[in-house]
Symmetry: C2
Subunit: 586 residues, 2 copies
């Protein structure tokens, strides 16, 4: 059973609720009025379910094959054709600069498109996702000349891109990168081995462009000695560069996404950005990527939800606990009468819509941060984006994993079989908690970098928005209870943040020990903001989903948000129970 | 990477802490003194790691094959031989009645053996597990004649057993069973289709004995019209009975455990127990089975923990947050310096040891409930066993799943690959939340049947034990903080139980809506009891693990137990936020 109907109405509602009106007024996005947005979303919805989902299961089951002799990777049946249609649909360069043929679309649109692609076929969606990241890094840091040579082909999808960071001895700790780059004329010669390279080799396109972290001969040790290079598979003279896929990982999921070992030996590469400042280009690539990885959790939660709901609507088992609801002319009642079946579905629905709202808000803020004429407005938007990016990556992927598992539980034994596909979504979504910086790296980024930055300015910008919304929602009958809960959660978050800051000042381990719980608290407060804003918008505009939005918001506040209480208690305890152990006691 | 060293010392500690001394005094278990227990555990530990684990991965990757023509199922390479060694080791009938060749071992031993088998090879362990269940049902409900014909071969493992409950239209709701049984002389003729039949067909043994739920011609509708039959694959005259495997399910995990569709057409079967009272035999089989399914969560959490710890000990990445802990002569520090890596490991360790203690207690109580000379003692033990069985099944499997996921996270990207095997454990353990009664069925069993039974007597028996322990531990310096937290958690549980009881009296849906959260609260209180008892025992006997046990107990009380706060809040809200939705709003 494979079904997916992308929630386009919901997305349009969220664009409205989270200020897309402001984005559309910005000059670069003038072409993207609401009608255009809906048209692209509708078209993408069809594409995701009819093209991408159609080969999703075969991708999982057939997987990839790799030829040890040539290093060639063959993708599953139908993938090459589907990728071609993805290129024809203009999806690869949707948000890329128009001067090189890109669509120039706002992130407000691109993040929804990415959600649909992921839901339809997570493995395949990773390929254009990485290319878009490379395009961004080149656009931001590459020389005009390099841009002229590569941007157009990448944006059109004629060539694809990768991100080559990890090596066997370094995943989280990129300061340990050993790959070397030796200058030679206008280019460099790179030698080293990279692992976990997504779509590092495939049969979609002739050329593949790798963005590679490496060290120049005079590089200082550690993270400050890393430079970034563009290393094409095919040289500009048409010869084959000395970069080769020497193996594929065998993974729990995303079986159709090649995770490659890439060996370079004197491979020709071109410097991107300044020497030793390579991490800047990577961070450009990573920031939006982290938002979109968070969205993966939402995407797979959504398709799993739709699948479980379809199962539940069709399944009769046992009798309602309420005699009045029993259909005695049928052998058993539909399982949607059972409170726990509803509870499981609502866990996914209420958390999922809350997270989608939060990420929509961040997407609009990204657009504002890049294109608003007023620097103060750009600054404030960028502050909130920087603060919330690790939260969305960490919170939405962890919750996405538990949401898919909850959807599986709705289907009982059927959910554990391939017949209902949820088992694939569960395997596929698990990686999102690990890659693009593990969720703990996100938590450390939040606690160690984003909170202290500019004397706490980022947190203050967020808190101001939350307080303002709570005040507004307090004045509306239908939302005043939400406003009160939001206000209280903000107060809890603020107190926790201050206490943590004070503790961390004296002892960094205190921050490291509770960073994960702190990120979860922040994720919950973020979703409380998201739900209050959605509820208020629904009431103020009397939208057609008004009644359901109010009920779902209530579920969130009554059943999901209380998790904060336990987390705050654990944060208050701090590092002692964790660090008390000797290694041999573990 | 496949490593597993069964925690025999830990198990011996738990036997001591949870009253195995009392069990050993009981006449049927006189042979099982502590030396014998350790000898069996040591031998099983070797068997689990050297025989069962050795073919665990090949089982996952190679899987099963099924011949549509004959219905034959071929198990993966090495399985047949490993099963033969399992038979030779006397494992199948370890706890079975000695009069038919069984070992007569106490559940206190059998549950640990089951844990080791599951950790070593979950797929394979399911086969002797089901046979043991069938033996139990036959022993309790079968006629002497039927016992004489089947028990010995089953206990020796020469033949295997299954449990045939589910049909396409009924999983949770067994009242919908349609399989028919028509009397014919001294036997019956059965016709119907059963699904999800674990080891319903295989190549380990010549004969397979199915315990089948079916309806007699005069059966009343629903659950009170179900009878139980023994249906052998090979008839007693050596001819083939008309029972056939007509397909295998394709599952997320347990790839080496055949999950069969079993078709019967006029198959010969023998009545077990009284007509229309078939659910009694099934419940006999299910009760111990539910305890052992809970243990599966502990088992896979344990092997995943050991794997993650081995990874962590070997991995260097980044620098300690505490400058004093940095090893500056190495390129990076061992990741066990990072608080979050420890936190993840401790989540698994502290919850796992707590759950193992709880299930050890229940195992000793099962032995006491079956063999103690004093009826009042038997009764009290049985009360607590009945109460805690659904909690152990539900809580330990859910926590087991999240524990394996946590262990995967310790390993980062490596954890997501087959190289470290945790991805298999995660896929394998997920089914435990579903089968043997979904976790929500456990929660309903707890709330709807176990709590009200005998006017709350079961709960009172449990509460009395907890209060007694809290009082004792309050008098010991090292455990008085745990005692206080245990006492408080019992008070919270008692209040929640009373409030829920009152609500449920007026409206059953109130109980259904919060049963899952309630079960979790109970699981946490059960683990608080377990940890207090372990800590007290370690202090009072100055055991070698004393210091570590106290630290781990502290971690449990400080970091894991506080989850209760949030759950209690959600329980207090009740059904309203869940039941407010119309079906088309989902």
């Amino acid at each position: 059973m494979q079904i997916y109907k992308a929630p386009v109405d919901e997305m349009m509602f969220l664009l409205d609720a989270f200020g897309y009106g402001e984005v559309h007024k910005l000059e670069p996005y003038a072409a993207y009025d609401l009608d255009t947005m809906r048209a692209v979303l509708d078209q993408t919805a069809t594409f995701a379910s009819e093209v991408m989902l159609a080969c999703n299961r075969v991708g999982d089951q057939q997987g990839l094959s790799w030829d040890p002799k040539t290093g060639a990777v063959t993708t599953p049946k139908g993938f090459k054709e589907a990728y071609q249609r993805l290129v024809e649909g203009g999806y690869v360069g949707l948000a890329a600069p128009p001067e090189y043929g890109g669509g120039g679309a706002p992130m407000s649109l691109a993040s929804f498109v990415s959600e649909m692609h992921t839901a339809g076929n997570k493995s395949m969606s990773m390929c254009p996702g990485l290319t878009a990241g490379l395009v961004e890094a080149l656009h931001e840091h590459g020389s005009k000349e390099l841009q002229d040579r590569y941007m157009e082909k990448l944006i059109s999808g004629t060539w694809t891109g990768t991100m080559c960071l990890t090596e066997p001895q370094c995943g989280t700790d990129l300061g340990l990168v050993r790959t070397k780059a030796i200058p030679e004329g206008d280019h460099y010669r790179l030698t080293g081995t990279k692992i976990w390279i997504t779509f590092g080799e495939h049969d979609f396109t002739e050329n593949i462009c790798h963005l590679v972290l490496a060290r120049l001969p005079d590089a200082p040790e550690g993270i400050k000695g890393i430079s970034t290079f563009l290393v094409p598979k095919i040289n500009e003279d048409g010869t084959r560069n000395n970069v080769k896929c020497t193996g594929l990982e065998h993974k729990m999921g995303i079986h159709a996404s090649p995770t490659c070992v890439i060996d370079m030996e004197d491979a020709i590469g071109y410097l991107v950005g300044e020497p030793h400042r390579g991490m800047r280009a990577m961070f450009t690539m990573m920031n939006n990527a982290r938002l979109l990885v968070g969205v993966e959790g939402i995407a797979l939660g959504e398709i799993a939800y739709q699948t479980a709901l379809a199962f539940a609507k069709d399944r009769r088992q046992s009798r309602s606990l309420d005699p009045a609801k029993r259909e005695m002319d049928a052998p058993a009642d539909n399982i949607l009468v059972h409170p726990d079946v509803r509870r499981m579905l609502l866990e996914v629905k209420a958390s999922g819509e809350g997270m989608r709202g939060l990420s929509t808000w961040v997407a609009t803020l990204i657009d504002i941060s890049q294109a608003h004429p007023d620097e103060a407005v750009r600054q404030e938007a960028d502050d909130i984006v920087s603060l919330l990016t690790p939260i969305i990556k960490g919170y939405c992927t962890e919750r996405g994993f538990s949401n898919v598992s909850e959807a599986m539980q709705v289907c009982g034994g059927a959910g554990y079989t391939q017949d209902w596909s949820i088992e694939q979504y569960l395997r596929d979504v698990r990686i999102a908690m690990i890659y693009e910086g593990t969720n703990h790296i996100q938590a450390l980024d939040l606690v160690g970098r984003k909170l202290p930055r500019h004397g706490g300015r980022l947190f203050q910008a967020f808190a101001k928005r939350v307080a303002r919304l709570a005040k507004e929602a307090a004045g509306v009958e239908e939302t005043k209870a939400f406003a009160a809960a939001l206000g209280k959660s903000l107060q809890t978050l603020t107190e926790t943040t201050m206490a943590l800051g004070a503790k961390a000042m004296a002892d960094n381990e205190e921050a490291g020990a509770v960073a994960n719980s702190y990120l979860k608290v922040f994720g919950l407060v973020g979703c409380a903001y998201s739900w209050t804003r959605q509820a208020l918008h629904a009431v103020q505009n009397d939208t057609t989903n008004r009644a359901t939005k109010l009920k779902t918001a209530r579920y969130f506040f009554d059943v999901i948000l209380p998790e904060i209480d336990s987390l705050v208690k654990v944060i208050a305890v701090g590092k002692e129970p964790i660090m008390a152990f000797d290694v041999d006691e573990l």
